[in-house]
Point group: C2
Chain length 187, copies 2
Amino acid sequence: MGRWEPNARGRLQQAALELYGERGFDQTTVAEIAQRAGLTERTFFRHFSDKREVLFTGTETLQDLLVRTVAEAPDSAAPIEAAAAALTAIGGAIPDRELARQRQAVIEANAELRERELIKLASLGSAFAGALRERGVADLTASLTAEAGIAVFRVAFERWLTGDGRTDLTGHIQESLDELRAVTAGR
Amino acid sequence: MGRWEPNARGRLQQAALELYGERGFDQTTVAEIAQRAGLTERTFFRHFSDKREVLFTGTETLQDLLVRTVAEAPDSAAPIEAAAAALTAIGGAIPDRELARQRQAVIEANAELRERELIKLASLGSAFAGALRERGVADLTASLTAEAGIAVFRVAFERWLTGDGRTDLTGHIQESLDELRAVTAGR
């Protein structure tokens, strides 16, 4: 193992996002990412298995957080309340809008990455429903709560990225949840 | 152009689904599909651009139906009512559970097809939101109604395919819509 590099992971992520944005994902090599970050390829591979993982490692962390938050909601919480708590926890765990924007632009520019992102979201939805069923929530209710929760997150995330920045992601999630309630009530 | 073949399109679809199920999608050729259907390759290409289109041509028809139904809902209909009418129309347009099951099994067995299916669903969601905005529905409301509508459809479709067959797809859509209302009301 090499010597300890301060915040190597963050520097590699930042360098990768810059290069993917400048040259395109396919045209960027791990060697270039390491060089831009002032680190070695060896250090890169201590943190990421490949250049795609730089973009998707965060999704797994969010999925763990979501599942844990659903599991830890009080027994008395209705499914939608457990889901709201989980979405709010996720919202608080993605603080950097500029990084999120860069990542989104890279993904939208590449068909393979867009597909990957959709698969990750589908997997997030399955894990979400699974966590609700673990609480004893019935199948249909768990599936709909999870799918509606992912819908709320997608819409809120998109509005956060394209908005004026005055409302944070958690605020957008709350707003979207309220709007979903109004919509389904037929208002 | 060759002579007219009775129900050539349906025969080709049925033959393709059988072969994809028996051999796998990747291992099946257009020549084999045509032969199984008792038709020529030339006839196949009059109906489909390639062997993947056999699986996804229906999605475009459904998208057109959904957009048209949203557009034709009465002015007085709330967004969720226009969405419910569109989902019900789609439900009525997919009558054959056995074909739908065969198609789903083929898609689930192939990563590329699963990705394609997710992209088609995302595109269906965008068209759905666009049709609602055309009615003058505000951005946030249109996005959430469309995403929630797709969520309801996904859950209902899955339950229809795996259920005992006593409830039709339209019935499952109605049940899922009711359940979404109950969930968001915190019940």
